[in-house]
Assembly symmetry: C2
Homo-oligomer: 329 residues x 2
């Protein structure tokens, strides 16, 4: 009898919690569920391995630095031979929640994304074939790939599968805002709550919604007023060739946005305050007052979650057969 009462009370409680969440257009992030730790560990090594680049100097972590919100905090990234990248590096954090990868969504998922920079002459400037040859020459990697995938011969698909599996763990639950969403009403201040209300009422929420507070649609940059930039990126048009997609970009996540400056696809906004101001004017036709701007920025800072916490990976050493990189060739 007691048990049954308790059971009903729990059910009601769960239903209440679920309702409280579904009332809001933002949802909390859940911790990653790791089903294959060996695969994730292999992916972590690959993510940190600069030997996946022509120079032996640039790794995934160079531009998606996990000490700095999964980004490089630069307007645009530094690629092979110090080439200037064409666009701001999006954060890798919570990227598994995005509808597609890259600003223009040209990669359907993290696996497809991971192969891109390795072979891009502006970025890591290697090739898939050279990357696989390099890994195949390293006994430590060969053993690990065999343990995970069951064969002696590596493939680029296995490489990107492992990197993607690691990246899927890079979610950031337990932000103060998520705690508030889950019912802890003291997790954010009154001003931060006001900022959230303003964020919703002003229309920011139209694009920045869902668990990733964005990342789930493509939208025109400069809806009300055109966006002025020297950056030649044309957004989604580059993928679809459809004129209607010109200057449509994937809406960036606002998760951990305090850490992922500078903002926009061209990295033109150095501060959150600037970004909120520009977004208000260009996307919503609204000039936020200094106070309103401050409230929204305050809310945005509650979206910083637990950063990925893991022991720095140790990379298996090259063998005598591994081709040595020459960055200055």
């Amino acid at each position: 009898m007691q048990v049954s009462k308790l059971g009903i009370a729990s059910l009601l409680c769960l239903a209440g919690a679920a309702m409280a969440q579904s009332d809001e257009p933002l949802q909390p992030i859940e911790p990653a569920k790791v089903t294959n730790q060996a695969l994730v560990d292999l992916g972590a090594k690959l993510f940190f391995d600069p030997r996946l680049s022509r120079s032996g100097f640039i790794s995934c972590n160079s531009c998606h630095n996990l000490s700095m919100g999964g980004s490089d905090n630069l307007k645009s990234s530094i690629g092979d031979r110090w080439q200037q990248g064409p666009i701001n590096s999006p954060t890798v954090l919570n990227s598994s929640l995005n509808l597609a990868q890259f600003w223009d969504g040209r990669a359907a998922d993290l696996r497809a994304q991971a192969g891109g920079p390795i072979a891009n002459p502006m970025e890591m400037a290697f090739s898939h074939e050279l990357a696989v040859d390099m890994l195949q020459s390293i006994p430590g990697y060969v053993n690990e790939f065999k343990a995970v995938f069951g064969d002696d011969k590596l493939s680029i698909d296995e490489v990107t599968t492992a990197i993607a599996a690691f990246e899927e763990t890079l979610v950031t639950p337990n932000s103060r805002f998520d705690k508030w969403l889950k019912g802890d009403k003291k997790a954010i201040t009154e001003d931060e709550l006001k900022g959230y209300q303003l964020f919703k009422e002003s229309g920011c929420i139209a694009c920045h919604n869902g668990p990733n507070v964005g990342g789930n649609s493509f939208q025109r940059m400069g809806l009300i007023e055109p966006y002025q930039t020297d950056n030649p990126a044309e957004g989604r048009f580059a993928v679809t060739g459809d004129d209607a997609d010109r200057f449509n970009f994937k809406v960036p996540t606002l998760r951990n946005v305090e850490l992922t400056y500078p903002y926009f696809h061209d990295g033109a906004a150095d501060t959150l305050s600037q970004a909120v101001d520009t977004m208000g004017r260009l996307q919503l036709g609204k000039k936020f007052t200094e106070e309103e701007n401050g409230l929204i920025v305050g809310f945005l800072k509650t979206l910083t979650g637990d950063q990925p916490s893991f022991v720095l990976p140790q990379l298996p050493p090259s063998s005598d057969k591994t081709v040595r990189p020459n960055p200055f060739n």
Copy 2:
């Protein structure tokens, strides 16, 4: 009575162990003793922070990569704007055991070393003043420096003190060879032991001795035969101006040498086998047979110890006041 017997037995045992160790010209590495964890943690953040460079892209860890034996595994390092460094990056692992820092020993200790690359226009290309201004603009750092050093105003001395404190923890105990030194006779194979005997008998031990298997003297590169290289480094002469010091370099540690390829101050030897061959001929006037070479290489691989194990540091974000780096200026 029993206790007393045990006490004597322990004393004899300790004396035996100490004797066993002191019989050998190599000594085991002891784990680091951390007396100020907050200082070490701050140093770890600084070690991983690329904002200590002009570009915002290069950190201490870029060239002393703790995923790769504390080195970059490149002939010579990549500096600001992809400049080619003049010399091979020595490993930071166990560097606290060296008699001085840099190949020419121009820095007396790790603190003096840490300031060098930050301000070197070929490396991180920043200045001490700009580095301190940058850190001073970041509330997360200001709070941490205050907690550790007790004042609100940072200094470059505090920065290098913290980096050095972190680097002092980067020792690698528990190599198989150290276990053997401490009495576990099964920790290395018979062939590895033969390699060690050969290493001693051939004279390698004359320079590579002590706990760091090197790092404790300056020696002429090319004693018996001159060393042929395009690298213009003149070694210790650059510090002392004394002709007798021309081409004298700090003897590199052989700890973790399996991980710290390529070898020599110019990084000219890609493999351990090449390095052993060159050293034999040039320093000892001895041409090792293939078998001898293999035995010595086998021994050298027993010197790989426990790599530093720590959670990847999270860096405090820049504030609106932090000057944004522009790597392409």
